[in-house]
Symmetry: D2
Subunit: 488 residues, 4 copies
Amino acid sequence: MATTWPLTSGAEYIDSLRGRDLAVYLHGERVAEPVDHPIIRPSINAVAETYDLAAREPELATTISPLTGERINRFLHVAASADDLVAQNMMQRKLGQLTGTCFQRCVGMDALNALYSVTFELDAKHDTPYHGRLREFIKLVQSRNCVIGGAMTDPKGDRSKAPHQQSDPDLFVHVVERNDEGVVIRGAKAHQTGCINSHWLIVMPTMRLGPEDRDYAVIGAIPVDAPGITYIYGRQSCDTRSAEPSSLDRGNPRFSGQEALVIFDDVFIPWDRVFMDGEVDFAAMLVERFTCYHRRSYVCKTGVGDVLIGAAATIADYNGVPKASHIRDKLVEMTHLNETIYGIGIASSHQAQATKSGCYLNDDMLANVCKHHVTKLPYEIARLAQDLAGGLVATLPSAADLESDAVGALLEKYLKTRDEVDVRDRWKILRLIENMTLGRNAVGYLTESMHGAGSPQAQRIQIARAMQLDAKKQLAKRLADIEDAEPE
Amino acid sequence: MATTWPLTSGAEYIDSLRGRDLAVYLHGERVAEPVDHPIIRPSINAVAETYDLAAREPELATTISPLTGERINRFLHVAASADDLVAQNMMQRKLGQLTGTCFQRCVGMDALNALYSVTFELDAKHDTPYHGRLREFIKLVQSRNCVIGGAMTDPKGDRSKAPHQQSDPDLFVHVVERNDEGVVIRGAKAHQTGCINSHWLIVMPTMRLGPEDRDYAVIGAIPVDAPGITYIYGRQSCDTRSAEPSSLDRGNPRFSGQEALVIFDDVFIPWDRVFMDGEVDFAAMLVERFTCYHRRSYVCKTGVGDVLIGAAATIADYNGVPKASHIRDKLVEMTHLNETIYGIGIASSHQAQATKSGCYLNDDMLANVCKHHVTKLPYEIARLAQDLAGGLVATLPSAADLESDAVGALLEKYLKTRDEVDVRDRWKILRLIENMTLGRNAVGYLTESMHGAGSPQAQRIQIARAMQLDAKKQLAKRLADIEDAEPE
Amino acid sequence: MATTWPLTSGAEYIDSLRGRDLAVYLHGERVAEPVDHPIIRPSINAVAETYDLAAREPELATTISPLTGERINRFLHVAASADDLVAQNMMQRKLGQLTGTCFQRCVGMDALNALYSVTFELDAKHDTPYHGRLREFIKLVQSRNCVIGGAMTDPKGDRSKAPHQQSDPDLFVHVVERNDEGVVIRGAKAHQTGCINSHWLIVMPTMRLGPEDRDYAVIGAIPVDAPGITYIYGRQSCDTRSAEPSSLDRGNPRFSGQEALVIFDDVFIPWDRVFMDGEVDFAAMLVERFTCYHRRSYVCKTGVGDVLIGAAATIADYNGVPKASHIRDKLVEMTHLNETIYGIGIASSHQAQATKSGCYLNDDMLANVCKHHVTKLPYEIARLAQDLAGGLVATLPSAADLESDAVGALLEKYLKTRDEVDVRDRWKILRLIENMTLGRNAVGYLTESMHGAGSPQAQRIQIARAMQLDAKKQLAKRLADIEDAEPE
Amino acid sequence: MATTWPLTSGAEYIDSLRGRDLAVYLHGERVAEPVDHPIIRPSINAVAETYDLAAREPELATTISPLTGERINRFLHVAASADDLVAQNMMQRKLGQLTGTCFQRCVGMDALNALYSVTFELDAKHDTPYHGRLREFIKLVQSRNCVIGGAMTDPKGDRSKAPHQQSDPDLFVHVVERNDEGVVIRGAKAHQTGCINSHWLIVMPTMRLGPEDRDYAVIGAIPVDAPGITYIYGRQSCDTRSAEPSSLDRGNPRFSGQEALVIFDDVFIPWDRVFMDGEVDFAAMLVERFTCYHRRSYVCKTGVGDVLIGAAATIADYNGVPKASHIRDKLVEMTHLNETIYGIGIASSHQAQATKSGCYLNDDMLANVCKHHVTKLPYEIARLAQDLAGGLVATLPSAADLESDAVGALLEKYLKTRDEVDVRDRWKILRLIENMTLGRNAVGYLTESMHGAGSPQAQRIQIARAMQLDAKKQLAKRLADIEDAEPE
């Protein structure tokens, strides 16, 4: 059945993914229909929630596009104000609360916004046509309500070498042919969030490039089902539980994230979908603006944190000890840490400034400080959740045991706590905590919090660049009455 | 010489404090003229900077009053928008950078704002005339550009007892007489920031009150030189260095904070300066709104932190090791921590909501999270500053030694580092770091960061109240498919 | 084939476990032979290593028993000196290094030691025969070189109620019958480490008991294959990977821990294996001494930490960045944290004191401080390992993909880093890090570190009991010249 | 009055310091008699306590010298076993408890021990006579019961240059003349703990030296009153309070530490007191062994920590809130941190190994881990103490106010808490906490904990050297089944 655009619900979105005949590999086999694969489906459900939320709460998750005048999903909007960026954060927290995982639509949002200002400034310097092409592309995806995956991270090979120095030139995505119609690219993008469940991929360079890396300075939009693309699904901790008969051990049965290795084996991009080709001097700006947006997008994890705090509070209830002062205090600490991320993230958005293109860019220092906390605080929140959960979070038998004739009754008997608590409810909450601290969604809540949008050291480098040490030295010298201090 | 209102500069402000014949005691003696006392003067200089900044950068430190239509100092403004609250934070950080200490004018600002909405709602319930009186008072101090000290913290006596239960009823400020003209109060307020260098004091209750505490529910504005007030100056670490002949050991020679015990021995307040009298049911609201504003006002400490980061970077330069990776990394860490406070603080302001009175109130959860970090992070920043400073920060001989014939030359010889660094400049920076981590301004940067606007546990209690645990439990239960979860 | 005692190698030990017809349930089914089950076998291998180490390094892992005069495995030795306790720690760290997981033989060791002194003192008070029975039992297991599982943690039901108050009396193990031959017990023990791969279980009460809990005050030794016992295997994160065809995704293919719910359905214990029956006044002492030993036994985790530090250093090599200062610094930090646990643990052992029985007991305060760090520091070490690993640790495809014709070559191509690094070696190290931070052995390295031998709050309570606040107040009062200070 | 050796009490020790006519400068003036100077005397009292403790508790603070067969003060003993090193730690903690400050006798102890093994190995290689000379010197000071100050830290000048590269060659102590009688040295040693109150100074190089630094490789013992030495006293935070009339603001009236800049202006050392002259290849060994001992000597700070924990508990009592759960929990946390230092420190001592000389040397890794915690944990303990103290710790008026007719009664009235608490007792405890967190003894408890025996980065470098990364990589590779792993 042909898709009817625009997509207006999660259900329509899911249908739109069917029948694309993608070359998706998972556990060594080609997946016939990803939409129906039990391991993949939860990640599609998470994206679907972005559609349903837009329908349910349009003021939160939609806005009017200045480009089309139509109401669009907020994930496709180019920020025209600081408030727009704050609104993204509000929507992200809400979706984190609703899905308890990564809903995978932020990379595309942040990529569109970063490209908007970068192509504008790039065109201004090089007299190129990228910004106009991008605007047309944005209008298209807005009018259809597409999901955009941003593909940035190359495999990188030997990290001590530049792209053009690698033994294998394909370890970074690069142009292997240019012709009248467009360009042909080759290479791969690693651990791509939300690609198989997208409609379009935007490939972008992953780092600062030098003059000899010219062929690596390529940006373009590609349909997810373009010929030449292979997707190899990343396996998550406990991924196979999603394929077990019982849903009781899944923790979060409906939702999960998705990461894949995406291989581009001579994939064609027509010129009107090419937004950079060789302008190496703008690669760093693109990376910096994208990470500036994206590091603050990790406010989503505070929504996920809300779920984990709620799960920890619930298990304390179920165990019969919700009022112990140390338990209460740990819930306060989890909240304190969670709101720390939230506060700094939205501060970054509130302090946004207009770029020359009119698109707003959030505060870089605060975006980096936010993301740097994201590389630590969820781990501590997860640790505290395991503390409150008790040891059973990691020693619970399998759902098959609970549902067996042989030992099901024994488990019902011996896992009983307070009379009014159903053993299966306790089981589900324990599995949810396991899911978020060791299992499928720990990948998103922990490891991806560590490395997504740049590993911790990347933020420290950026903070170092922005910390205005010379100005601060002057402050100190003035107060200390040092003669060579410059006047205020 | 009579004061000419409004005050338009730091110099005029300082003059306005002269000749008031206050009963100020310091080191066991009554101070003839506080303005000229070497230990007190730096705290007056810090407030003076709030006047000079307003003159130098009016867009930052002044605004137009909706009450008078005149341009006023921002410290006297009632916030009419979230942006107004953010602007306070910007001004606070700047003044922290300029003074390296507490500039003591925030308590009054936050008190006026809290009173504005509280009196409005109090009048609406009790049909009282407080809000109108307050507006008149605000107009007066705006038109004169006065400094307002907020006096909240009672000595509290036995903390396990309510005000009316204390052995000595005066351990909380209370009304001892009411007559046609006004009320008479007795009691004390402890560790008052910026009182002797203010023009007015506003006394307020310090905590939730019960019906039997009626006489303790009193708010009123009192001229600093009203009859019956005694000020006993708090001694700060290293306070007497400000009275030593050489300024070299002072660290921050011009600026410091000020705290005093203020004793009200039957002080009269006329009715038109009384803003609460007996309405115990509004005491808690007043305290909560005041602390909501004030906990976010600690963004000022990030300006002070900027100075300390600058001092640490400077001493690393002077020692010849600015590029060592571990030093660079510690400066990044200090910045990361400092910006954490800043981000959460301004987020609280950005997320402000209008109260019924029209006055904006910042976000309470974020204000508490911000302040809670303030009770920890400056201590870690200070520790790192001492790390970068080297041991000499605490073993440097006295300025008198450096300036002596006997050993001055030896010190010049042996404290030399790089050829181009003046030993006296190194000395001054080391003393500045000492000042901020152990000395006079450590009181403001550390201890007052701990206890001002409520000690750490006060924030944890407030976070616990605001953390919406029930809603978070529902999030978890929904994702875990627990049947009794309420639908979204 | 009948077992020949004593067991002298890992192989003999493994054989000794065969053919016992235990009622073991895993994933809903009864396991025919646990020794051959791919999910269970790694936990048996880990215990086998305790035998092989004894053969390889007898000075480290064996000693001469004062009870028998024979050389015995150190896990069966009753500590006759502080050096004996230190030697346990050395052996534990080594086994942690060799297995990268929990080798499951410490609980029995610590239980024998705790029982040795407790039964001695119990007999002295109550004129009971337990100590002699215990000595005979110890001689037996020493002479056979058995594995002893300690079974302490009851399911506990409603944690706000004592054992005798529970709705279901079986929620704590208790005596349901006493006769001439012995006692019959009923109940369960939760998340038992190393039970199915033991020869004997020692059941013990889990907490302080009151007079009405008399039937719950029971200690006894039971053969693992005694009639009436059911074992329900705890499922670990990623447990099913051990049953996948390829070993490449297992991380640590040979070794893992084991936890099970053990149900005693009217299990008989003859009198000569009963070491407590009703003496509720000694339950707390038993728990405290056992946890005193066991909290310091977590020094084993520093051996596991050594593996994880090594894995992190290896992946940094493979990625080509081993000399970056921030990577070096993180390895230092991991080591600093790991050695913190080690230092405090062995200090506790070194400071041991003789009990009345002659058996040595380590320092309680330091044991608690050690374990309390174990509830936090491994989580931070794991976080840092994930930092150094890069995102691929959580997005790597499956081994089946790597070994497939369809995409194996693509993975070989795109996961290549430095020329000299084999992609499969990189894969294995990434899977090892995943195994220890999210997978099977994260259960042992993280969650079990949190809850084993008592959750964090249990240590804080014990530290509070031991912190001698009154003596410390006297120190302060004396130095402050407070008159009522007691003289030194 | 001539000194009678050996010194047998604190009083005799104090007398032995009189009349030496040292060139001591403090606050710009030469001090006539340091023993009687109110600012210096507390540091002498602290050393005197090492004598009185030896008299009171000989088993703790004395031992039998193998060199003389006589009972000697433990500070002068060469460690003949691991137990000797542990005994040092016990004595150090006790003295920290008794004085609440640095008692200044450890540097000499650690220097004698380090020199003992280094001179032994140096002689073995270079056929020099240093070890025998050192033994004679040790016998002398043992028989007299002298205080030895160790002088290691040179001013260092430009830290990017070696000693011989400095613009001023005197920025490191060096030999300027050699003759038949001995050597003449010139230079200075910075922030020397316990020099003016010692009998002998031992000068030692401060770092690894190269061939061109030959003249800087000098070690020798010098009487404190040798001609040519000038002492410039380091000023501590709040030092002048010790000279105020009232003792009420001193916090710890009797005890403090001492640091001075010691200048050697052509000071002669006879050959029999020279223990190294030019053997640059042994400078690094000396520094490493000294810091190995000394980094573990910081166990003393746990005794000081005991005082601060006691003070915090006392002020909680006085304020009437000792049982609040958050206060109790903070006292537990302070204890947990304090015992962390203690445990690792004594573990280092327990794990000592014999050097070739027979003298025992403690474990280097653990010594560094211990000291590294000392650079952080006391700051956190101090922060928590300020938390429990309340704001008054930094806003208390002066003792002169309390003792004045004018306002003394007001302070007595308004600082009252519980009826049974004397305001002056509360005052004293607050001043003690101030003293240890901001005042005179904060220098010893905080800043000197940071930099003494090497700043934090020095420990990280040493941990990096000792962390056996290659061996740990092998552990990981073996478990991951990587082929090139070396067999166990």
